[in-house]
């Protein structure tokens, strides 16, 4: 358990210096151009073949994207998502072997406001990306993050998934597609000129206020990710896309897995890091780059001149200890240097996990977290970390003596009675929630464990976008309604368990 070699010598082995043989390990003819892992040496041609094959194999194996489907590629300008864009381009190429058959579009979210970029800086980046997207030849959408302030409530409600598309029907769908569309040329889509929506300065300020209201960088990053995700899903929905492709690579996912564990997102791990994520119902998130390491992608982009655009993010130029995300990233990266199998081992762990209670897809849609939209993980048994923390908090505070705790300025007290399952507690919860203020509902009971932590790190929730606040109020109202009529309800769930 303690030392370097112990029981897992092959897994934790230190890096040997790569034995670079002169010839490509695959074709044994051309000279080596790239060394991926110590043993794998490739010449230029073989590397490209390997890279391209992996992309199509990942999509082919999972059979999630049906022919003719509209797929939105989320491109941030970074190496990973640009490589993804490049692979889709290659795959749609007329003479591509195992041609891809979906209809891609591109989305770029300009989050310049979160890192306090000037309007000019933002415009420059946008025009750089516009050039890349135009060259790709797909329809593209460029959205400033400020748009998130104008989203409708429906964004945080999972839509029912359309008629189940099963993997078994995949083959039939492909055959049908090939026959029907033989004459139709897919790649020649019209590239709509989408104008970048105009950003009001007041919007920028409001968003900056929101991001600024998070006290820690950890919470700030979490919040920004959530907002971005909401915006992506909204755009996919409103433009008629049914799949959303993210460029997360293996290294990133390993970091994300450890970060998620550290942030208490164990229950959501499989959705956060798996190949596909169906938490939004109608829009399925897909991660086709998850089998590539960051190194592989960097080598590919370099060798085949895949254009990338460097965009600063929240944690650019921050020290390692600035946030949980930064710390985990530097931890994994440093460990990877000494133990080269670190990333792949962590990543393989993610493949063996599954979301708790995922099997029941029909889980009450209201039982989802308001922010991350995952199934709630706070209804746990008495002996659990969540309960233990609450007990600790209670014991460290002055005991509320009946008359005292109705004061409106007791956020923890109101949180307690709302999250408490007992009817008694909820009765008084109604009182304090509504008296607190109409503007800032108590979100705690509507959030999963991890999102509660994020909100706890915020000075106030009043800067959250309107769609979140109004949906929260709607859910709280509904919750209260159900409390009122609870004695007449025969079933626990509000859809009922009958056939």
């Amino acid at each position: 358990m303690c030392q370097v070699v112990e029981e897992y010598p092959d897994q934790l082995e230190r890096a040997d210096l790569p034995s670079v043989s002169k010839k490509c390990g695959k074709c044994k003819e051309a000279s080596t151009a790239v060394v991926i892992r110590t043993a794998d040496t490739y010449c230029r041609g073989c590397f490209k073949e390997y890279f391209v094959h992996k992309f199509r194999a990942t999509l082919g194996k999972n059979r999630i994207i049906f022919p003719g489907e509209k797929v939105l590629l989320a491109v941030s300008g970074g190496p990973s998502s640009c490589a993804m864009l490049n692979q889709v381009q290659e795959g749609l190429n007329q003479n591509a072997h195992k041609k891809l058959r979906f209809l891609p579009g591109i989305i770029y979210i300009d989050e310049g406001c979160a890192v306090n970029q000037t309007v000019e800086e933002r415009q420059r980046k946008v025009s750089e990306l516009q050039a890349v997207f135009k060259a790709a030849g797909f329809p593209f959408h460029i959205m400033p993050l400020e748009q998130v302030l104008d989203l409708p409530n429906s964004v945080v409600v999972a839509a029912p998934s359309p008629s189940e598309q099963l993997a078994s029907t995949y083959k039939a769908a492909v055959d049908h597609f090939i026959q029907a569309k033989r004459s139709n040329d897919l790649t020649a889509q019209d590239q709509e000129e989408t104008s970048v929506p105009y950003v009001q300065e007041s919007h920028t300020q409001r968003l900056q206020q929101l991001i600024g209201s998070a006290k820690t960088l950890t919470a700030r990053e979490d919040l920004l990710n959530t907002l971005k995700q909401h915006l992506l899903v909204h755009i996919a929905r409103s433009k008629g896309y049914s799949k959303l492709m993210l460029g997360d690579n293996c290294t990133r996912l390993a970091v994300k897995l450890l970060t998620s564990i550290s942030l208490g997102r164990g229950a959501q791990l499989a959705q956060d890091t798996g190949f596909s994520d169906s938490r939004y119902g109608d829009i399925i998130v897909v991660r086709p780059m998850r089998d590539y390491s960051a190194n592989e992608i960097a080598s590919y982009n370099h060798m085949f001149n895949v254009p990338c655009v460097v965009i600063p993010s929240l944690n650019t130029k921050t020290p390692d200890r600035a946030s949980v995300h930064c710390l985990t990233e530097s931890f994994v990266t440093k460990l990877q240097v000494d133990f080269p199998s670190t990333v792949s081992t962590i990543y393989r762990t993610s493949e063996k996990l599954q979301t708790a209670g995922r099997s029941s897809i029909s889980t009450n849609l209201c039982d989802r977290c308001l922010l991350c939209m995952c199934t709630m993980d706070t209804a746990v048994e008495k002996a659990s970390a969540f309960q233990a923390t609450q007990v600790s908090t209670q014991l460290s505070q002055a005991k509320p003596t009946g008359s005292k705790n109705t004061g409106p300025e007791q956020p923890t007290a109101s949180g307690q009675c709302c999250s408490g399952a007992g009817t008694e507690g909820c009765g008084s919860g109604v009182g304090c929630c509504s008296s607190a203020s109409v503007k800032t509902p108590d979100l705690k009971s509507l959030l999963c464990y991890s999102c509660q932590l994020t909100i706890k790190d915020m000075l106030s929730v009043e800067h959250l976008p309107a769609y979140i606040l109004s949906e929260a109020q709607r859910r709280l109202r509904r919750f209260r309604m159900r409390e009122d009529i609870s004695e007449f309800l025969l079933d626990d769930g509000d859809e009922g368990g009958d056939v």
Binding site: G264, A383, A385, V391, S392, S396
Partner: protein, 343 residues
């Protein structure tokens, strides 16, 4: 201006709780710490009245605090438990002999019966002798595997119903991280359980009453209670790989103090996909102890020591299990591989 205790709002606070960030006075901190352990014991239904419980005592801070709190709660809430101390003497000069002195003092202070089982009497090998043969590199494997069984054997000699160990929240969180880093899903799933179910013959159920107690709070508790404990790192433990996980955890805690509980929460809510191969629990064909292989790890390690092939139990040599069982000699090639000790 002095900070007032946030619980009693009267006395001056003397510490800031690492777990929640509240400022507390000494008495309120003691009360909160003890009540939390009590809550854990009751909520997880760790004990039944009338049971005999062995406290695994090493003399370190965790087990000293555990012994103290268990005795206190047993009286305060009349659990009706018969408590005793159980120690393992690994035979490490300059480390275990000193810490055992602490345990002996604890025995007098808490008036609890004490049983010491030693590696020497159980296996015929002290850790000092093992290190002499194995070197400093893999010795923790021997120590860890042997201790697990030694505790069970000691518990059977004492005829106790349960063993409780001093694992704290930091230990559990660290183990979750370690198992992720090693990709060990089987252990990842088990490691957050607060108690092990009765696994069969020769295995006594174990539990961790301090599972939700922060290491820092345990030290604070011991410090303010002026408890007598032994704090020295084992002289043979270089702690290389686990050290990375530990440093990472401490860094996480400094960024967000709740991280430790957050990681445990994650661990408790992990779900392993169906169809992932899991080791099947069986029994060792030689000693009858639980094992997922034909031979249990400690029998293999012991065989390796006795044959002068210390690497037999390091790494995976399942194919050799049949040979060991039937007492066949190993081939020269196999021997050469297992003999090499690199320093």
């Amino acid at each position: 201006m002095p900070v007032l205790c946030s619980a009693c709002t009267e006395k001056r606070a003397v510490l800031k709780r690492p777990k929640t960030g509240h400022s507390l006075c000494k008495e309120c901190f003691f009360w909160a710490f003890e009540e939390e352990v009590h809550y854990t014991i009751v909520a997880a239904q760790l004990f039944k009245p009338g049971e005999t419980v062995a406290i695994a005592a090493s003399g370190g801070k965790d087990s000293t605090v555990l012994a103290h709190v268990m005795k206190l709660l047993n009286e305060r809430y009349s659990y009706g438990l018969k408590l005793m101390l159980l120690s393992v003497d690994e035979g490490i000069t300059g480390y275990r002999d000193d810490s055992l002195e602490t345990v002996k003092r604890n025995q007098e202070q808490y008036e609890l019966p004490l049983k010491i089982v030693s590696y020497e009497e159980l296996y015929g090998w002290t850790m000092d002798a093992i290190v002499k043969q194995v070197g400093l590199k893999n010795n923790c494997t021997f120590c860890g595997v042997f201790r697990r069984q030694a505790l069970d054997r000691g518990a059977i000699i004492l005829k106790v119903d349960k063993i409780c160990t001093g694992h704290n929240a930091d230990d559990v969180a660290e183990t979750v991280l370690m198992n992720v880093l090693r990709g060990d899903v089987a252990r990842l799933r088990r490691c957050t359980a607060i108690s092990t179910a009765s696994e069969g013959e020769g295995v006594v159920p174990r539990c961790k009453p301090l599972k939700y107690s922060y290491e820092k709070e345990i030290v604070l508790y011991a410090y303010f209670k002026k408890l007598d404990y032994f704090s020295t790192e084992c002289i043979y433990s270089p702690n290389a790989y686990r050290g990375y996980a530990r440093t990472f955890l401490k860094d996480l805690e400094s960024i967000r103090p709740s991280s430790i509980m957050d990681i445990i929460h994650s661990g408790e809510n992990l779900c392993v996909r169906e169809g992932v191969k899991m080791p099947v629990q069986g029994t060792c064909k030689r000693c009858g102890y639980i094992s997922s292989q034909a031979l249990c790890k400690s029998c293999v390690l012991l065989e390796g020591l006795n044959r002068g092939l210390p690497k037999l139990g390091i790494g995976k040599h399942h194919r050799l299990h049949d040979k060991i069982l039937s007492q066949q000699p190993l081939t020269e090639k196999e021997e050469r591989k297992l003999k090499s000790v690199d320093f």
